[in-house]
Amino acid sequence: MPDIEIVENLKRDLGEKALELSNPDVRRIFVKVALRDLVPAATILRDKYDCAYLATISGLDKGDVFEFIYHFASPVANINLRTECPRSEPRIASICAVIPGAVLYERELQEMFGVTVEGIPDPRRLNLPDDWPDGQFPLRKDWKHVRPEEVIPGGKP
């Protein structure tokens, strides 16, 4: 299926929900939806576009808003669902009910960006250690890692 056809179909199926639709490259389609339309849009993608496979979820700190990109892949195209949520109220809905394999990526979002994923089946941390302090979210842009001075163990002072 050529990209144009998919874009047309997406326009038809998503209707109002699709805030932006672009096709910057071959087999790459970016769709922007509002926060509340995320789960319905993911359902449509899974059911009508053979996108049961979620490659990953990318988070992005854009200052006032966090942007989340859900990278879906079907055998013919790579459809990226984009949504934004305000920094002041970081909450998104879980899509685990639609795509069970998303749980790891959502856990990663929670710990790295400090968003609350509502309805996630397993809210524990994924990568960070258990004693990581609350309120520290490493992939936010305002979280800076200050590199400690290099100490060579066992060497001369």
Binding site: A55, S58, N80, L104, R125, P138
Partner: protein
């Protein structure tokens, strides 16, 4: 009577640290939990502080076994951002290396699978023959593990006629040996008894849990980025997706060996139609603002990088999803209701690459923010304190 056994973070079956908590009843597993986070290096944060060029080497070090796959995935994304068109010869050499890497990775996996099943002879022989492809890679790139052959706009080293002849010669040997290992792996009764029917993952589950790579293909899901999204040279090449329908570890062995044979075919095609010309074009230092999703079929499955540029010489965001991470939900499903004896085989069958899967956080200790190098005496003191406080279990419980 059920109790919990810890597999990892240090365990002979695991080559890298990860923790699997198994709840077992006698020999049967009833519950599985995977805990990550022992191998974090903060690659994604680090990448934001390095230039486009330096990041090639950073991404290459995400993984030791599929180093080329991460670097290539990154490089082909950045080339799109910078609107570079690498010359054809450069592309052919780049993907020749990536196929050779697939061969080395799958041979390595075959050996590991044999070792996990206690089949050490098989392990020794596959690894002996893996040396052939390692030597080829060393000859092409100058190193055995981190090839560093990619650069923005092409590759760094050219092939000459002698090298091409050597690669073709090596492929002939390897093909013969791979067919032999296929025969052994599918016929040695004690080995087949261990892998057939073990680690069942149905097609529905493979789809729902977003499994990738050979795990998905062994469950009958023909998912291969090289076919679905033919990047670079793969549109011109003739190869087939290897699949199996048995949905078990045997299927994963079959898929990997078939992929080996396909890779030999691809390598020969690439070498036969290697065009003349330059191997690289010059790359700018900065990329225009934009974003790109780069996909690549690594030996373990789909590798996806999301790269966003902001007009400077450093990326705004580099998101890396390694294939192993995508396979963890499926692994939990496969392990359930298995035997303890099957844990290493099932876990090895996803070809786990833990340092790929965990790449996100900096090496900073929680309290002070200082790099955490703990002294041995300190550890000892902590261990003693821990020991004093821990309740002593006097009576073990009969597990059966």
């Amino acid at each position: 009577m059920s109790f919990e056994i810890p597999i990892g973070p240090q365990h002979p079956a695991l080559k890298e640290p990860i923790s699997l908590r198994m709840t077992v009843e006698g020999e049967v597993i009833t519950g599985v939990d995977i805990r990550l986070g022992y191998n974090h290096r903060g690659m994604e944060k680090l990448a934001e502080e390095k230039s486009w060029l330096q990041n090639i080497y950073v991404t290459e070090r995400i993984c030791g076994i599929c180093s080329h796959s991460h670097a290539t995935c990154y490089v082909q994304g950045v080339e799109k951002l910078m609107e570079l068109a690498p010359p054809k010869r450069g592309l052919y050499i780049r993907y020749l290396v990536s196929e050779l890497e697939r061969i080395h990775s799958h041979l390595l996996w075959l050996g590991v699978a044999g070792h996990e099943a206690g089949f050490d002879s098989f392990f020794m022989y596959t690894w002996r023959d893996r040396e052939v492809v390692m030597d080829l890679l060393e000859m092409i790139s100058g190193n055995r593990v981190h090839y560093a052959i990619n650069t923005l706009g092409g590759v760094r080293r050219d092939l000459d006629a002698g090298q091409i002849a050597k690669i073709l010669e090596g492929i002939v040997t390897l093909r013969k040996r791979s067919e032999y290992y296929f025969y052994i792996g599918a016929n040695e009764p004690s080995f087949v008894a261990r892998i057939a029917g073990v680690g069942y993952l149905s097609k529905e589950n493979a789809l729902a849990l977003c499994a990738v790579g050979p795990v998905a293909r062994a469950s009958g899901v023909a998912r291969d980025v090289r076919k679905e999204d033919p990047y670079a040279v793969y549109g011109d090449l003739d190869f087939a997706i290897a699949t199996a329908d048995s949905c078990d570890v045997l299927g994963r062995v079959v898929v990997r060996v078939k992929e080996l044979l396909e890779s030999y075919k691809i390598c020969e095609q690439i070498l036969k139609s290697l065009p003349a010309g330059d191997i690289a074009v010059k790359a700018p230092r900065k990329a225009k603002p934009g974003e790109v999703v780069s996909r690549y079929e690594a030996p373990r499955g789909e590798n996806i990088h999301y790269i966003k540029a902001n007009g400077t010489d450093k990326p705004e965001r580099l998101k890396v999803r390694a294939p192993t991470l995508a396979n963890y939900p499926a692994t939990v499903e496969m392990l359930r209701k298995g035997f303890i004896a099957d844990i290493p085989l099932i876990f090895a069958a996803i070809d786990p690459c833990i340092c790929c899967a965990e790449r996100t956080v900096t090496l900073v200790s929680a309290g002070s923010g200082a790099e955490s190098v703990v002294r041995m005496s300190d550890l000892r003191r902590r261990a003693i304190a821990r020991h004093r406080n821990a309740p002593v279990k006097r009576n073990a419980v009969w597990p059966l």
